[in-house]
Symmetry: C3
Subunit: 345 residues, 3 copies
């Protein structure tokens, strides 16, 4: 951890990413920064002339570039994949949130919970009866790991996350702060006078390498399981309703909503604030633009947009023509006048 | 609680729901499951041929059906209302989140707070001065019950919920994890240079049998009260702004937003991500489709959709015609050509 | 605090706001209320005939009015700016959430954290290594103030807020309950098989007098800083993605979403549920209507609306014409019939 606070040198950076140094070996490097940073000891990267120009114009100290993009004035390191090399630096500077070894004395752990000795449980975490916390898990402050939850090895649960009951996290699943997994699905029956609650007894389950954003909600199934496949990534403030099934490696951006019993395929991308109506199925490899509203099954891979969502090209054309409606209106009026004239001839 | 972990038999299920058993009395039943479950000891239900077919094709062990829907191969129980009978089973299997009797020693309760002896307060809950917790209430870990809050009997506050100050919950109100009640309304006055905060001193109040979803926010009124009527149900991630009034038995789906001083009638249904502009009134028995944006008062009951929201039929027709705009464009071009030809004759 | 529970008199109110009393000096005043309140000891205000009528029709006890708006029956106080005077009363009645002096014994404070002696830290707050809490700050229960966070003087962090790491709050910044600052940005690289996490090492920084709503999320930058300018106000459930820059005095309403690397100018107003696509720039003094979706840079100040967002006037006209599409369709059909007739002549 001290490492991350020390300054590196450009020479050491070049060695680390396996690149070719052009500049002073002892140029100090404080940290990876964006291309427009004002940090004279920051290092950034460029993958295009545009980015390179932005970096040249800024005070940023040094750059990772590819063979064909050579900075005029700043020290640089030539690598094959500047973006990937920058990612390597990010990983070097990344520090996990601090956490005590073992179980913090203020954590309330049920005697029938099972916590692997290599797991860490922070101050004021609560772990309920029969919960199982796997090897290497990190459970931060104020997390609530409910009854019968099972966390496979290497999971991270950030502060304030809540796992109600029977939530199963696949290996290396990350749950960000304030996320709520396993709250009751939104199920009621109208009896003519009032909405009667349908008891929700199902589970929530994630595959390996899932990441769940801050304050995102995943409801338990009514019966059965709400399921996120392997490698699924959810942004912040996403709503996943009861009994939803999300395929492997699907990515859902912030403020998107998935209604009850929806089935989403694999490698789907849902843009920000997109929504899917209940019981709808979305095929593999579908891309939903931001704000798209899916009202019916989508069976063909490809890009979709609009409310209701339709193929991107069609949606874009319609959207452009809506802007031309005033002109269309004028042209219709002109036609009407001309036709009237012709009729009166 | 042990009960819920035991296996039942189909005979016992039939007796429980008052149905007619067709199949072995000792058929084991593990739990209620969805119709497409692979659990050979799961029990599901069918209310339509489509659902029955799905169940027949699955490994599900047994079914609740109506007289006219008879499974070909699986053991089944005939009942009048299969969905309702299934709901009965869900209720049998439902287990509340575990909670200690009385007040957990780690809870921080102000000496001037009043907690009914039959209420339960979990680890690391905070109950502030002059708060009143009624009989049978269950307050889970990390909940913050602020000064002057009043919870009528039978309320449930799940982990991490926050009630700022002066929040009053009607009987049996359920507040899910991470919900925030009573935060400041979003009120500022622009003084020509900066937004000056308008102090927010009002309250939040719910009727009986209200349910508030995970991470949902209900702001306190500027002055007066933000109020949810009896039987109101809010899904997750809903935003209710200051001074909003919501009528009895209204239901609001996930990611919907209600702006300041809106008045919503009774038995209104707001679809997911629908929104209402500030100071607008929505009549009783209005249904707003998902993503609808209400910009002006709605005085007539019925279905509405679109941005801005208009009667469903009109909105659907306009939405379909937007898709026909390319065709319309072509027809106008053809008309123009023909008219030109006629004029030149 | 006791003050706020006592009754005032109308005479004292008049003196307090520097107004002219019309009515009994000893008329009791319980609290500021909305114009339609049923509280006979409540005081409200009127700035228009419409508001005055509403107040006259209600049971509200007394009113703040301007010279030209004189109530017929109720006691009143004439002031120059009734709304501002009402704001003064709100401030008089406003009570902060209670908080102990100093550091609550249950707070877990790292020995290397630095907390000003005039700051207050509530029960079950966690303050990590090297965090700095400035003079007069109030940190409520269950807040997590992560490593290297810096809070300038007078900040308020309500219960359950989470500041991951390296979050810097300007003076008097208010963070409402459940807000999450500094969670990882949503950055992944698709390697052909899976989304590989891009480590997120950047910071979050706010200017002075910023307010952040309940359950709102502000992600840390990938590298560099996600920054909110001075006087920025965010409502509840807002999503601010990594590397976003928000200019001074900009206001963002509930459920709005700002994608990665967006640059928003100063004094911008974003309506509820509005959204901005990643890397887009929005100029100073832009107003985005509720639900607007910004897909491209906006360079000219003014009002914008629609998906994609366009100048308000244009968007409104197009939106109205969409509703006229059925009529347009009929007119085109009629034209076609007439032209056919003309051609056959």
């Amino acid at each position: 951890m001290a490492e991350s606070e020390k300054s590196w040198t450009l020479g050491r950076i070049a060695a680390e990413v396996g690149g070719e140094l052009h500049g002073p070996e002892d140029q100090p490097v404080s940290r990876p920064v964006p291309a427009d940073s004002s940090d004279p000891h920051g290092i950034s990267f460029a993958t295009s002339t545009k980015f390179l120009e932005r970096a040249e114009a800024s005070a940023v100290g040094s750059l990772l570039v590819s063979q064909d993009l050579v900075p005029s004035a700043k020290p640089y390191v030539v690598v094959e994949e500047p973006r990937a090399a920058f990612g390597q630096l990010l990983a070097l500077w990344k520090r996990p949130l601090p956490l005590n070894e073992g179980i913090h004395p203020t954590a309330v752990v049920h005697p029938e919970a099972s916590i692997d000795p290599s797991a860490k449980v922070g101050p004021y975490a609560v772990v309920e009866r029969n919960a199982k916390i796997g090897p290497g898990c990190r459970i931060y402050s104020f997390s609530y790991i409910g009854e019968d939850c099972e966390l496979a090895k290497g999971c991270v649960v950030y502060p304030q996350a809540v796992l109600y009951q029977g939530v199963r996290l696949g290996e290396r699943t990350i749950v960000h702060a304030g996320a709520v997994l396993g709250a009751d699905g939104f199920g009621f029956e109208w009896d003519g006078k009032r909405h009667v609650k349908v008891p929700q007894i199902g589970l929530v389950e994630t595959g390996a390498d899932v990441e769940i954003g801050a304050n995102t909600c995943i409801d338990r199934a009514t019966a059965g399981t709400t399921r996120l496949g392997e490698g699924v990534k959810l942004d912040n403030l996403v709503q996943i309703a009861h009994n939803v099934q999300v395929g492997d490696h699907t990515v859902i951006a912030g403020l998107a909503g998935v209604s009850g019993s929806v089935e989403i395929g694999s490698r789907v991308v849902m843009g920000g604030a997109a929504g899917i109506r209940d019981h709808v199925k979305v095929a593999d490899d579908v891309v939903l633009g931001g704000g798209a509203g899916v009202a019916a099954d989508i069976e063909v891979p490809g890009e979709y947009w609009g409310i209701p969502a339709r193929p991107m090209k069609e949606a874009m054309r319609a959207s452009l023509l809506v802007l031309k409606l005033p002109e269309l209106m004028t042209r219709i009026r002109e036609l009407e006048a001309k036709v009237k004239e012709l009729e009166e001839k």
